[in-house]
């Protein structure tokens, strides 16, 4: 599970790293991903091609995210907006509300059940649902793709450069606005992929993005903003903590284990495990 939450928080952290904006609407992109998957799997494609559907969902949301970014986020950097700090937060929150309610308007408040990916199986002694296993594998593949993208390709390295030094990188001729758009698209696509992968597990309905986005932000707080490895570690930690808690203490309290971890981490390291302290003057 931790691996899947990782996709969400990776997206959030990634976008933050590039643009210093927290996209509060990530859960909604997850939800869109779920819906797209449901639609594709139920009608044209059928379950056998689930991975195509996941990819399609991710790609579709990539473009949607890029579109949103150009419309709403880019102006932050082209000087059209006065109050940058609150603008980003307010606009992404408003977008989240907008998309969430639009989903109800379009699709109705119903819960859709996409068909299962696979039947239940076992990993060693632990029973695991086929869906979760498939989702896990999908997530791992995506994560490795992402890693490959960031570390090995030119695009990835450019993005790293933008995250590290926004102004400096422009002197190397990098069109920062294009990369902003790219980053936003990638981030939202990751969320959508998570949504698509988890659609059979959590089912598909307008507020299905909430569960994962809460976890996603939890991980960000625990890991600290700006560090990709931190997100990985924190997501695994969260996943482990939740599962252990559910098994050994009580499954009904599952939501809170993560937060206990969060409170503990924050009291020791207020910027998160790997967060960077901000310079003041």
């Amino acid at each position: 599970m931790g691996v899947l939450y990782c996709l969400m928080s990776l997206g959030i952290n990634f976008i933050y790293g590039i643009m210093k904006v927290i996209n509060w609407a990530m859960g909604e992109y997850y939800m869109i991903g779920s819906y797209v998957l449901y639609l594709l799997v139920t009608f044209p494609l059928g379950v056998k091609y689930w991975y195509v559907a996941v990819l399609a969902a991710a790609i579709a949301v990539f473009f949607l995210g890029a579109f949103v970014q150009v419309l709403l986020i880019k102006p932050m950097f082209t000087g059209a907006i006065g109050e940058r700090g609150e603008y980003g937060t307010i606009v992404t929150i408003a977008t989240a509300i907008f998309i969430r309610n639009l989903a109800v308007v379009i699709g109705g408040p119903y819960i859709y059940t996409p068909p299962d990916y696979a039947g239940p199986t076992n990993i060693g002694p632990l029973p695991i649902s086929g869906n979760t296993l498939v989702a896990l594998m999908g997530a791992l593949i995506l994560l490795s793709l992402f890693y490959y993208l960031i570390k090995r390709t030119w695009v990835g390295r450019a993005l790293q450069g933008v995250a590290q030094n926004r102004i400096g990188i422009q002197t190397s001729g990098v069109n920062i606005l294009k990369f902003d758009m790219l980053a936003f698209g990638i981030g939202t696509a990751l969320a959508a992929a998570a949504g698509a992968l988890l659609a059979p597990v959590y089912l598909v309905y307008p507020t299905c993005g909430l569960v994962s986005s809460v976890r996603g932000f939890e991980i960000i707080v625990i890991a600290g903003l700006g560090s990709i490895w931190g997100v990985l570690v924190a997501s695994l930690a969260l996943g482990v903590v939740e599962s252990l808690g559910a098994v050994f203490i009580s499954p009904s309290f599952m939501d809170i284990y993560g937060f206990v971890l969060l409170v503990i981490v924050l009291s020791l390291k207020p910027y998160g495990l790997f967060g960077k302290e901000e310079r003041i003057a």
Binding site: Y16, K20, V21, I22, L72, P75, A80, I81, G82, E83, G85, E86, Y87, G88, T89, I90, V91, I93, A94, T95, A96, I97, F98, N101, L102, V104, V105, V214, F217, E218, I220, V221, L225, S252, F253, D255, I256, F259, L262, V263, L266, P270, Y271, E278, I280, A281
Partner: protein, 320 residues
């Protein structure tokens, strides 16, 4: 002359709101009373997030805490009502003090994140400790007044709203208002100019939060059944929407926004989700293009009217 006009308008509004309940149905009285609750919440958030620039996402959480603390004190400890409300207020003040201190060193985005985390932790805690708090099923909060009539509650919340308005206006007009605005504009410069940013940031945190706590406690005793829904992210988003549409960083904006939008929402009840789609779209448009909200719109309209008068006066002068 301006000040006189302002007070005249305010007195008129007050008069209207005092007399209004006798002309409208109970249902609309209920709507307005709830709107007052949101108006106070919006005005409070505006002080912290708008004027002082501390973008908090846990404002509604303090209302939630106030409501639960008060209800639980009365129900579990058997203490009288006013003790409940007092304990709700005290608890929110203490917690906001702690949170304020924690948030001293964090800036903008981090602040939003940490307050969000706080909000979720509290909300989850209430849900999870369901044996004590009733969890998702909610908690019965004893009614404030014996009778079920809406009028006393209406005047109570009207009174609270007026008090909140006065309190916030007094603060923002005083030297504290200068400090808070300076902190938002440039905290480092404010410090260099002798402003004790630590003290005033904590103040900016505690005042609205305490206000939210009191109001939340009363609200709990008004609606009778409280649940963690009161502290959901949705509630917080709505408050922000009220403030943005009404006009951030204005005195009247949040109040105006909250009341008019709540009224409108009630009006459009059948269009449950569509109305929110429209509202959030408006917020996005305002932030993107207009950034002033209703108050700015009114001000410009007023200015335009005055200009038209001036132009026509000038033109008619020419004709002589």
């Amino acid at each position: 002359m301006q000040t006189f006009k302002k007070y005249a308008v305010l007195s008129l509004l007050l008069l209207i709101s005092l007399l209004l309940p006798h002309f409208i149905t109970d249902y609309w009285i209920y709507v307005l009373t709830v709107a007052f609750y949101y108006a106070i919440m919006a005005a409070g958030w505006n002080l912290l997030g708008g004027y002082t620039g501390q973008f908090s996402l846990c404002h509604s959480t303090f209302a939630l805490i106030g409501a639960y603390a008060s209800a639980l004190t009365i129900v579990k400890l058997g203490l009288p009502l006013w003790v409940g409300i007092l304990s709700g207020t005290l608890l929110t003040l203490v917690l906001s003090l702690g949170l304020g201190i924690v948030c001293l060193r964090v800036r903008g985005i981090y602040l939003a994140l940490i307050t969000w985390a706080f909000a979720e932790v509290i909300r989850t805690f209430i849900r999870v400790a369901y044996e004590f708090t009733g969890g998702d099923r909610g908690l019965n909060s004893p009614y404030l007044f014996r009778s079920v009539k809406p009028l006393p509650y209406y005047y109570l919340f009207l009174g609270l709203t007026v008090l909140a308005i006065i309190l916030i206006a007094v603060v923002m007009r005083s030297r504290i208002g200068f400090y808070l605005r300076a902190i938002r504009n440039d905290e480092v410069a404010a410090r260099a100019m002798g402003v004790n940013t630590v003290r005033w940031k904590i103040f900016a945190f505690m005042l609205p939060s305490g206000l939210a706590g009191v109001t939340g406690a009363f609200y709990g005793h008004y609606i009778g059944l409280i649940s963690p829904v009161l502290g959901e992210f949705n509630e917080m988003a709505m408050i922000i929407i009220f403030v943005v549409i009404g006009g951030m960083r204005t005195q009247a904006g949040p109040i105006l926004g909250a009341i008019s939008i709540r009224y409108l929402m009630e009006f459009l009840r059948e269009w449950a989700e569509i109305r929110i789609v429209i509202l959030s779209a408006i917020v996005i448009l305002i932030m993107r293009f207009f950034n002033g909200g209703l108050m700015e719109f009114l001000r410009r309209a007023g200015g335009w009217v005055r200009k038209k008068d001036a132009v026509s006066a000038y033109a008619s002068m020419g004709e002589k």
